[in-house]
């Protein structure tokens, strides 16, 4: 057996038992955030779908159903578009609560994270 074989196997077992994984459908948005000095944004689908049907954001608000294809700027959110349609201190917390959305680890790539059985299709 390889010198570190046992260690590697133990690592694999530990990873299987205690995996480090985001919740299924979590989206990291970091096209602009870190370039402009803010931590990446984490959008949890699970939290939002308890309160809104998909059609509210993906039909009424016009979010494309493809990670990275929505060119959302903070200015637009402040002006009440996209996230700003609800994040306005009326339906949900307002834009002054920067840290609640910009709560990601540094260096994260924009994409759909999470996954229980699949990590999502390759294209994500």
């Amino acid at each position: 057996m390889h010198k570190y074989g046992r260690l590697i196997m133990a690592g694999i077992i530990l990873f299987l038992v205690f995996p480090l994984r985001a919740e299924y459908g979590d989206v990291v948005l970091n096209k602009r955030a870190e370039k402009e000095g803010m931590p990446p944004v984490i959008f949890p689908h699970w939290f939002h779908r308890i309160r809104f049907r998909c059609k509210v954001c993906h039909f009424e608000l016009g979010f494309e159903m493809r990670a990275g294809s929505n060119n959302v700027t903070m200015q637009e959110i402040i002006d009440g578009k996209f996230c700003g349609m609800c994040h306005n201190d009326e339906i949900a917390w307002g834009v002054e609560n920067c840290d609640l959305c910009h709560s990601g680890r540094p260096g994260l790539k924009s994409k759909i994270h999470g996954g229980h059985s699949t990590g999502g299709p390759g294209i994500w």
């Binding site: 038992v17 299924y24 049907r53 059609k55 509210v56 609800c86 840290d99 709560s103 680890r105 390759g122």
Partner: protein, 190 residues
């Protein structure tokens, strides 16, 4: 000699761990806490303010994949009451028919329920952008779906994952006509 005994012990341990895995796994990490999910910054001021997945999801009808929640059942049973629209003038459209996709090779036929999908989505989310509203007009393949097209827009990303074969491939060919007839009846009742 000693080395062999060690290895045997190790493999016994490995085997035991593998057998116990589902048990330990479900108890330890059905939903990761935000601090330990690998994407949230544990030092962020949002920790402790944002709702934890387990706090919300453990109360909903359970499932074995994705968010470990049966979202369609949660909605149908009234466990959640997500808003359908923000603007009063938005028409909320529900469609009740089933579409049967029969060119599935050796696999059972796919029953696509419009109802479960329109409870969540609007017609325009899929039509005519990703699916043409004409029977036979969409060359859907499993490969395309796995690459994130057609059903794979959502399934495998936010809707239940592609490991759940039988949730879509649910109609054995021997029962196809019977299930089609039942589906037509149910459509009129709803």
């Amino acid at each position: 000699m000693l080395k062999i005994r060690f290895s045997c012990g190790f493999y016994t341990l490995l085997l035991m761990a593998t057998l116990l895995l589902p048990l330990i796994s479900s108890a330890a990490s059905k939903w990761k806490s935000l601090e330990k999910d690998g994407i949230h910054d544990p030092d962020s001021p949002a920790m402790g303010v944002l709702q934890e997945p387990a706090a919300a999801l453990s109360k909903l009808p359970q499932n074995t994949s994705g968010n470990m929640v049966d979202w369609v059942k949660a909605l149908e049973d009234g466990a959640i009451h997500p808003r359908t629209n923000l603007w009063p003038e938005t028409k909320v459209r529900i469609r009740n028919d089933d579409v049967f996709l029969e060119k599935t090779g050796e696999m059972p036929v796919v029953r696509f329920p419009h109802r479960a999908h329109t409870m969540w989505l609007d017609c325009k989310n899929c039509h005519e952008k990703y699916f043409i509203s004409k029977k036979g007009a969409n060359p859907i393949t499993m490969m395309k779906i796995l690459q994130g097209y057609y059903c794979g827009r959502c399934h495998g990303a936010v809707a239940f994952p592609l490991t759940e074969c039988d949730r879509c491939h649910s109609v054995p060919r021997s029962k196809l006509e019977k299930i089609k007839a039942e589906s037509r009846k149910a459509e009129n009742r709803k």
